[in-house]
């Protein structure tokens, strides 16, 4: 419960911090931290234009997407406090819930019959497919390390004993950070701030959405960021009491957002053709974690 509230709070300012960081890094004054939220509320009140080509799928997809992400957030724990959804293998449900939402976004993009959106949908499906193994390998490695199979049990029994285990924590943070970037189509996979049609993946998929639907989708992105930030913060929380975990959680979220902002200020988007290779790197880093765990448990024969 507590993690749900915190993630919702973090989602309110997460994108704002990224944008703010980027504007400071480029020497601009930039909008306030809550500007993205204000934009979303403005969208909620606006009317919508629907394409002639679209069917019922286009109308329902944003609701499915938003609901699936809300549902996935329920599975994220906070240190000692399990999420509302917590059972053995809950991270499998977590991954498949996200996939459920993505399925609907992809088919709604193809519903418009626009070539831009088809392009975005094609890339979204491919990249998320390539990124998925990394998540499962990391979770599998930690399941191996701790002997547990749920988010909460894994994170609360994760103790940092030796140097290698610190390495594992850092690598896992890296993997989840990059997964968050891929899932939200940020740099270096895609640049969300270019003019809409030049954006290659996520933003181009929602070209035809407007009004309330667009607001839902944009806020779902914020929630997704905060959700991955929450998972990352869990690597550092352990079983500390609540009075420490909440500040750590917020600090990790802010730190993560600033890191993304700085990263995006100083790097250019990859060529699309190079992206699959980049996503594959993620899987190999995840495999490094797996071998690190094997090393730690002295399971090599």
């Amino acid at each position: 419960m507590i993690s749900l509230l915190l993630i919702i709070v973090a989602s309110l300012f997460f994108t704002g911090i990224i944008i703010r960081t980027k504007s400071i890094a480029s020497g601009r004054k930039g909008p306030g931290v809550f500007q993205p939220m204000k934009d979303i509320f403005r969208l909620f009140r606006k009317g919508a234009v629907y394409s002639k080509t679209t069917s019922i799928i286009f109308q329902i997809a944003p609701s499915f997407y938003f609901a699936s992400i809300l549902m996935a957030i329920l599975a994220v724990p906070l240190g000692n406090y399990p999420g509302l959804i917590s059972f053995q293998g809950d991270f499998i449900l977590f991954a498949y819930l996200l996939a459920f939402g993505k399925f609907f976004m992809i088919i709604s993009a193809l519903d418009t019959g626009s070539s831009f959106e088809g392009m975005g949908a094609s890339r979204e499906s491919l990249f998320s497919m390539l990124a998925e193994p990394a998540f499962f390998i990391v979770m599998g490695s930690f399941a191996l390390l701790t002997g547990q199979t749920s988010f909460h049990a894994i994170f609360s029994t994760l103790h940092y004993g030796s140097n290698i285990s610190y390495m594992l924590g850092i690598l896992a943070t890296f993997v989840f950070g990059i997964i968050a970037l891929i899932e939200n189509s940020r740099m270096p996979i895609d640049d969300p701030k270019t003019h809409l049609e030049l954006t290659m993946i996520h933003e181009v998929m929602i070209l035809d959405n407007s009004g309330f639907d667009l607001g839902l989708i944009l806020h779902a992105t914020n929630l997704k960021f905060a959700m991955y930030g929450a998972i990352i913060s869990n690597f550092f929380i352990g079983d500390l009491p609540l009075m420490y975990t909440i500040p750590i959680f917020l600090a990790v979220q802010v730190g993560f957002a600033i890191a993304i902002g700085i990263f995006e200020s100083f790097i250019a988007r990859f060529r699309m053709g190079h992206n699959p290779q980049f996503v594959f790197i993620l899987t190999s880093v995840a495999l490094l974690i797996f071998f690190g765990v094997l090393l730690l448990l002295q399971r090599f024969v």
Partner: protein, 675 residues
């Protein structure tokens, strides 16, 4: 029970005699009635088995076969229920689907009889426990499946695919015959118990060999890679209800066979577990990777059957490892996942084939790239196809997730505690299953949205007939079960815990394990329901807010370009282009294209033909070699009847003479030895 089973078989025989005499109008109704009665009988038998009384009796048989025992245990009962349900919905759907062929009277009666026979023999396969009787029933099953596949036998492709199926299913029978003969020669009995006694006496290497022989036979039927090559040919050739039934349950009889042999044989289950798990991961990945690049909707679905057989196989492999390591949770999760996925796959795959049958019925095309926008004309079919797609991708809140979850959790549980090599194997299997899930998503977003969404690509919607309600009614029960398994999975867990307990051997499965996972699964069901509630909630909020704002309809946003045509749309080929480029080194994809060049460009053109490398190496190249070798002997086939009589004469003489000569030869050797 004995009388019920006999009545079950008699109905099929009676129907086979009566059907040709009926008028076309009554044929469909008669078939459906016969099948319904048969399904009712079969269900009574299997439900009574599940409520406690195993059926076991024996026919005297003949001198050759020996006694023919009939045994219906939990495993048989489970498969009987799965097969019966799909055949029943298939019959109802088929009755609607075959309306388009109502002038082909004789062909229809043959088809109906073969359909009934296929169903009857499939059920008999599940209960007969005598090797020779099993083979005979299996042969009838193979022949009747062949007949139902080649319904449109006037088309050359259909007949070719049918003959391919016929030959490959006989290779399967060859393997099975050899394995049963092996056991018969060593033990002197065709009874299945002979397998148990024989395999517990011989060294492990030989019993593993025996298992692999059986496995090859059943794997051809089930469609494991590399024995899958008949599947993608046969499915598109058959009428829709037959493809649904074939992919849903006929190939599952191979799974039944493998499960039955595992139950009977005594051997090194760890080695078998490794073997099945690895071959299944490869099957799953290979199937789905090839599925994505297909252009024919039914061929795409056929490759997905291979993928799902892979997933079922992963469950079986896990279960075998569980037996080998004597790890009860693993037995439970592995075989549980496999058995549940067998049911699940039969549900969503038949749904998908039936809906694609509707597409063919109304549009007369299955080429994905020429379709589009069908949701306007076929709304119910579209939504049903969407449900099937979500379920086959293993997404909650549908049934596919439940069985995949059992297999996943089995893998995650066994990653610790069973040694280094199992850890690595499990990581490999998890990786495989995850990739299968992701690839399936690419495949079904493509299939659903290109066929049903957007605007028509080549076939305009005016050419499409209006959807009749009756053509989708038989599909609602399937959707009902897909949802029930997704939302109340623990209901089915109690049923499948009975067949699973057969694998645990003498020690029954700990009830704690069952209740433990029952709880987990009911939690998942609850969360699936909450997900649906969330979706509805968000949608209602959206609707109530949208009521107060202005909604308008306009062209799709084209960056200021306001003359959109359906030609600028993404097609299936362009949707998977990046993927195709990634996998090109692995698969053989023939590509032909002419670019649009010049000021007045000529017509541009682009086509790709996916080709299966395993098919090339395993079937086409050896066949080419054999054909080249045999072409040296074409002079024998000279069309001269006298010559043929001569060949016959020579053959008979040789048959008579060879044993004589052999005896004389032995005498000679004996004589030489004495010298």
């Amino acid at each position: 029970m004995k009388h019920l089973i006999e009545a079950f078989n008699l109905i099929a025989i009676a129907a086979a005699i009566i059907l040709p005499l009926l008028k076309v109008k009554w044929k469909g109704i008669a078939t459906v009635t016969a099948i319904s009665v048969q399904v009712a009988l079969a269900s009574i038998v299997s439900i009574s088995v599940f409520t406690g009384s195993l059926v076991e009796y024996s026919y005297v048989g003949s001198y050759i076969t020996g006694a023919i025992p009939i045994r219906v245990d939990y495993l048989s009962a489970w498969f009987i229920l799965v097969i019966s349900f799909t055949f029943l919905t298939g019959a109802f759907f088929g009755m609607q689907y075959m309306k388009q062929y109502k002038d082909q009277t004789a062909n229809l009666s043959l088809h109906a009889i073969a359909y009934l026979l296929a169903y009857t023999t499939l059920i008999d396969i599940c209960i007969v426990q005598n090797g020779l009787a099993f083979l005979i029933v299996w042969e009838i099953m193979a022949l009747s499946s062949f007949i139902i596949i080649i319904f449109e036998h006037t088309k050359k492709d259909v007949l070719k695919a049918g003959i391919n199926f016929l030959i490959q299913s006989h290779i399967c029978i060859l393997f099975l015959t050899l394995s049963f003969m092996w056991v018969k020669i060593k033990t002197g009995t065709f009874d299945f118990t002979g397998i148990t006694t024989y395999s517990s006496q011989v060294p492990i290497l030989i019993s593993v060999g025996l298992f692999i022989f059986f496995f090859f036979g059943f794997a051809i039927k089930a469609g494991f890679v590399p024995f899958h090559t008949w599947l993608p040919l046969a499915h598109p050739a058959a009428p829709a209800h037959v493809s649904g039934v074939m992919s849903g349950v006929i190939i599952k009889i191979g799974i039944y066979g493998i499960l039955r042999i595992i139950l009977l044989i005594k051997t090194d289950f760890i080695a078998i577990g490794y073997f099945i798990l690895i071959i299944s991961v490869i099957s799953g990945l290979y199937g789905v990777m090839l599925a994505i690049i297909q252009h024919n909707l039914k061929k795409l679905l056929a490759y997905h059957s291979i993928e799902n057989i892979g997933i079922i196989g992963m469950g079986i492999g896990l279960g075998c490892l569980g037996i080998g390591y004597n790890n009860q949770p693993l037995i439970f999760l592995g075989f549980g996942g496999a058995l549940l996925h067998t049911l699940n796959h039969s549900l969503f795959k038949s749904l998908l084939f039936f809906t694609s049958g509707n597409v063919y019925r109304y549009v007369h095309s299955l080429n994905i790239d020429s379709l589009g926008g069908l949701i306007r004309k076929l709304p119910r079919t579209a939504i049903l196809f969407l449900i099937g797609s979500l379920a086959i991708c293993g997404l909650p809140p549908f049934n596919g997730f439940i069985s995949e979850f059992l297999i996943y959790i089995g893998m995650f549980k066994s990653i610790t505690g069973l040694g280094f090599s199992v850890t690595v194997l499990m990581m490999f299997a998890i990786l495989g299953l995850v990739l299968i899930g992701g690839l399936a998503m690419i495949c079904f977003t493509k299939a659903f949205s290109i066929v049903f969404l957007g605007t028509p690509r080549h076939i305009s919607l005016e050419e499409v007939h209006n959807e009749e309600k009756s053509s989708v009614t038989p599909l609602y029960p399937i959707v009902f079960f897909i949802l029930v398994i997704g939302l109340i999975p623990s209901l089915f867990l109690n049923v499948i815990s009975l067949p699973i307990s057969q694998y645990a051997g003498a020690m029954p499965i700990n009830t704690e394990i069952i209740t433990d996972y029952g709880k987990t699964l009911s939690l998942i069901g609850l969360y699936a329901a909450i997900l649906i509630a969330f979706v509805i909630l968000v949608y209602l909020v959206r609707r109530s807010i949208n009521k107060n704002t202005i909604q308008s309809v306009n062209e799709t946003w084209g960056c200021g370009y306001v003359g959109p045509t359906n030609k600028v749309q993404y097609t299936a080929s362009s949707y998977i282009r990046t993927y195709r480029k990634l996998v090109q080194p692995i698969f053989k994809i023939r590509k032909f294209k002419t670019d649009a060049l010049g000021i007045f460009p000529n017509k541009a053109h682009h086509e790709t033909h996916p080709y299966d490398k395993i098919e090339e190496w395993l079937i086409d190249k050896p066949l080419g070699l054999i054909r080249r070798f045999l072409s040296h002997f074409t002079f024998l086939q000279n069309g001269n009847v006298q010559a043929y009589i001569l060949y016959g004469f020579i053959f008979i003489t040789l048959i008579v003479l060879i044993p004589e000569i052999y005896e004389k030869f032995l005498l000679l050797i004996k004589f030489l030895n004495q010298l």
